[in-house]
């Protein structure tokens, strides 16, 4: 069965409320909200089945589908594959949690798919600490994906710390672009 849903960006952000992942991986398991949500499969909030029939996205909206090639569709939520973080934090913020969940669901519906989560940090702080921090970021993303039904063997992690920046400036904006986890489909 095709799961084709159109939702608005507004609906997405509403759905994200009350579903924060805490900084430490261990505490993720304490969140009843997260596990309850995981059991509900693809039925994330904001479903507007009626509007999906036309086959075009609402203005400002994104397509949600877990078809095999959905990850390459610029209109699909799965096209976004980078999660950004605050300084010295491994908290997956409200801005990215829904996107990560969609990738988790995609993995659960596509058992042959696998991702590598590449953790990165900005240049501040020490190199080895940043490798450890960036691994925790990738682990936090992995935890969310697991709750959405992805298999442990579908997700691998590598942490590059601050060794592989995408922005080479030393300003706040460059550094915020470098604090990230990249979701790389294999």
């Amino acid at each position: 069965m095709k799961r084709l849903i159109f939702i608005s960006v507004l609906a997405l952000s509403v759905a994200a409320c009350g579903d924060r992942i805490k900084p430490d991986d261990e505490t993720v398991g304490d969140s009843d909200t997260a596990s309850a949500d995981a059991s509900s499969g693809a039925s994330a909030g904001g479903i507007n089945a009626g509007s999906g029939i036309g086959g075009t996205a609402l203005e400002g909206g994104k397509l949600i589908s877990y078809e095999k090639n959905a990850i390459d569709d610029p209109n699909n939520v799965l096209f976004e594959k980078i999660v950004y973080f605050d300084f010295d934090s491994n908290l997956v913020s409200d801005d990215y949690i829904e996107m990560v969940k969609h990738h988790g669901k995609y993995l659960s519906f596509n058992a042959n798919a696998s991702v590598r989560l590449e953790g990165h940090a900005d240049e501040r702080g020490t190199r080895e600490y940043n490798v450890a921090l960036a691994e925790r970021r990738a682990q936090a993303v992995k935890q969310v994906m697991l709750y959405e039904g992805a298999g442990d063997d579908q997700i691998s992690i590598i942490s590059y710390g601050e060794e592989k920046p995408v922005a080479f400036g030393h300003d706040d904006e460059s550094m915020s672009l470098n604090r990230r986890v990249e979701i790389v489909y294999q």
Binding site: D25, G125, T126, R127, Y129, V131, A132, Y160, V166
Partner: protein, 431 residues
């Protein structure tokens, strides 16, 4: 009396004798440094070898140590070539404590005989004198050896000019990434590349005998720890567990490596026994534990842990079960310790707000002082004789190596001419 010493040919491949990769500028301060005059050595029977200007090498070494303030060549009040030519009173009036004179003489077989004498002006006599045999290729090594003799004689500290430093260089842009693990003389000359990779290389650390480097390489697509013999080139994979394999640190006896592994879920410190590959877990905490370094007795380590919420330094026994002792309290970011050879002081990265500086903590008194200005100073590494601390710094958007004297008064920059340079490690002895 002049003692005779033969310097053997170092079996290194001298890839670029003509071009030093690191350029060293002394950027700040000479207060409290000892005045010394190094008279340009006289060359007999041969023109001065451009990269083997022995007296210039000695002068630069002594200046970089932070303990000496050599007179600039243009300001020399006299240029005696022989002991008999030294006019003590003139030098005394000029406020000079010591002068160094010497010569380089070409021999019939093409080699050089290098002589130097250290003269104590107040005692009005020669206090040190040696003669060395050298070739074109070992003239620099002789210069560093002379520096070590002079440094040790005057300061009582072991010299560290003849050893090697290791560092990682990087050329990167949006399309390409090329990391190199390099070693060089302590003044940046005679660079050698040990490893080139299109993936990151991190955390080089010299073995206590200076024969091997431990480091992290991502060449396989995952971080793995290697040890690499610099002379034989023999490389051994020491750790490739799932997750992190990082922060290798040699035990003082060279028989173990402390490292950070996340194979059991969280980054924790482990100690690997190199002879039988037995792994011992040292820390077990849900937070980040990493960047372990050994105290000289080999019984304890100091490491970075975020167990209090922010990275701070902790000390813990590796031989007995014990609770970690927290060492740093000031500021929200204290990490990446380097311990002085006497085990009394710890250099580390101290972050406050967006500024990261190098600080030193005295273990006995728990007092700390900040030595550098930031804004992004990291990877502190004590010189083997404790006289200064090498670190990586960001200057005008370029990553450079820098050094600061342990009193913070003298700073110097070791600029890499091409690309970035980072993570210095200074060998205790020359292998």
């Amino acid at each position: 009396m002049i003692k005779k010493i033969i310097i053997g040919l170092f079996c290194l491949s001298f890839t670029s004798l003509a071009h030093a990769v690191l350029k060293i500028d002394i950027t700040e301060g000479f207060e409290g440094a000892l005045p010394i005059a190094v008279i340009p050595f006289q060359w007999n029977g041969a023109a001065k070898v451009a990269n083997g200007d022995v007296s210039a090498i000695v002068m630069s070494d002594l200046a970089r140590s932070g303990k000496f303030s050599p007179v600039a060549e243009k300001d020399l009040i006299a240029r005696p070539q022989k002991l008999a030519d030294v006019h003590y009173k003139t030098w005394r009036i000029a406020g000079m404590d010591h002068i160094v004179i010497g010569s380089v003489t070409k021999q019939a077989d093409g080699s050089y005989q290098v002589e130097f004498r250290l003269i104590d002006i107040l005692k009005a006599k020669q206090v040190l004198g040696y003669s060395f045999s050298a070739t074109d290729k070992t003239l620099r090594a002789v210069g560093h050896q002379i520096s070590d003799y002079i440094f040790t004689h005057i300061t009582g500290l072991p010299g560290a000019f003849s050893t090697r430093i290791a560092y990682v260089t990087l050329k990167q842009d949006k399309k390409s990434y090329s990391a190199r693990l390099q070693t060089s003389d302590t003044d940046g000359y005679n660079p050698q590349t040990l490893l080139t990779s299109d993936q990151p290389i991190m955390s080089p650390a010299w073995s206590p005998d200076g024969s091997e480097l431990a480091y992290v390489s991502f060449e396989s697509g995952q971080a793995e720890i290697f040890t690499h013999n610099i002379r034989t080139g023999v490389r051994k994979n020491r750790s490739k567990f799932k997750g992190l394999n990082g922060s290798p640190a040699w035990s003082p006896d060279g028989k173990k490596l402390a490292m950070t592994l996340s194979k059991d879920g969280n980054p924790d410190i482990y100690v690997l026994n190199l002879s039988d590959n037995k792994l011992k877990r040292i820390t077990n905490h849900w937070s980040i534990d990493t960047e372990a370094v050994w105290l000289p007795d080999g019984k304890s380590i100091i490491y970075t842990s975020s167990r209090s919420g922010k990275p701070q330094l902790y000390k813990q026994s590796v031989t007995a079960k014990s609770k970690p002792e927290r060492l740093t309290y000031e500021g929200g970011y204290n990490a990446s310790a380097s311990i002085s050879a006497d085990g009394k002081s710890v250099a580390y990265v101290h972050g406050e707000g967006n500024v990261y500086r190098i600080a030193v903590l005295e273990l006995a008194t728990k007092s700390s002082r900040v030595l550098t200005d930031g804004p992004l100073d990291e990877s502190p590494e004590y010189a083997p004789n404790n006289s200064m601390i090498l670190f990586a710094s960001q200057e005008k958007n370029q990553a450079v190596l820098a050094a600061v004297s342990v009193d913070g008064r003298q700073k110097q920059r070791l600029a890499f001419t091409d690309g970035e340079v980072r993570e210095p490690s200074w060998a205790a002895v020359r292998y």
